[in-house]
Each structure stands twice: as C-alpha cells, then as structure tokens.
C-alpha cells in the first residue's frame, strides 16, 4: 500500500517523532509505515489522516498487488 505520509509530514513541517507523539505510537512505527514495511491499522491510519486534515484515501492508496 502506497502512502504519502512523508510528503505530508514535510508539508506540515513535522518530524517522524512529532507525528509519532501526536498519534501515540513509536517513531519506529512511523518509519516502518513510510518505508512500506508496516501497514497501519484502520484506527492509526484515521488518526494520521486527521492530523494532516485530509481524507484517508488521499493519504493511502492501494497498489496493484494489494
């Protein structure tokens, strides 16, 4: 699953640590999501989308093999 968290994070001038703190997970988890090694739960994905004030499907996108 593709995601635009890194881009949005840069746009909002947030570090991985800042975002992690806001959504209540570790920095490792944010890093793993950005590098597509971990697919977040629906709750976490919604929390991240809320931080960036954008709809979920604009932040996360299904790829062909998903």
């Amino acid at each position: 699953m593709k995601n635009y968290i890194k881009i949005e994070r840069a746009r909002h001038n947030l570090t991985q640590g800042d975002l992690a703190e806001k959504v209540g997970v570790s920095r490792q988890t944010i890093n793993s999501i950005e590098t597509k090694k971990y697919i977040p739960s629906a709750v976490l994905a919604l929390k991240i989308a809320k931080i960036f004030n954008m709809p979920l499907d604009s932040l996360f996108e299904l790829e062909e093999h998903d």
């Binding site: 997970v25 570790s26 490792q28 988890t29 971990y38 739960s41």
Partner: protein, 140 residues
Amino acid sequence: MNTNILFTAKARVASYFIIATTIVLAVLDGQLGLTDLTEELNTLFFHISTGLMCLSLFLIQFSKYPEEDEMLMEIRLKLVLNALLVATIYLTISPIMEHFIFQDEIQEIPASQIIMFMLLYQIIMFQMKRYSLKKELAKE
C-alpha cells in the same frame, strides 16, 4: 490494536528474577541438600520449576516495552504463528533424528519442553526484530 492486554514491565523484571533464582537453585542443588530428597519430591520440584520457567518466559514475551504500540503487538502475534510452525517441524524431525542419527530409543517430548522451545524462539526473534528496527531508525 489494543496493547492493554500486555503485562507491565514490572512483570518482566519479576520473571528475570524467577528465572535467575531457578537457575541458581538448579546449580546449587547439591550444596543445598536438594538431591537428598525423595524421588517423588525431586520430581515435584522439577515440574514446579519447569512450570515457573514457562510462565516467566511467557511474561517476558508478553510484557510492555517503552516503545510499545500496535506494530510491536503485531510482530508478537505473527511470531506466535511462526513458533507454532517451528514447533510442529521440531516435533516431526525430532523422532526421525533420534532414530536414524543418534540411534536412541524414541521418547515422548514433554509438553513443557515444547512450550519452552516456542517461547524461547519467540523471545529471541522478537528481540532481533526490535534490534533491527532500532538499527534501521538510527540509519535515517
């Protein structure tokens, strides 16, 4: 994913203490006169200590770490599945090895041995994964 089902970090510390005490008792059983006990009592102590070791390993694997979140929980749950597969393979291979390689009498494998094997596998793999995640983060 809810991580509240996990035990506290204090449970992990207590588990380390229990394991260390059990190992010390096992090493010093001669000096403490435990070997002079009847066979029945010896067996009882052995089963209790094995059970305590299994419980301690379980608490170590399912207790909270400072960086605890849904990703670590998912890693843990995937490892339970992997450990089950590895234990099944171990159960299959063990009698074959005993018979053909060591040419020993085939014996039943105790449940405590399998549980301990599965928990040790999970703990080792989980710590390796945690270490690799930390290393990856340090590279960033």
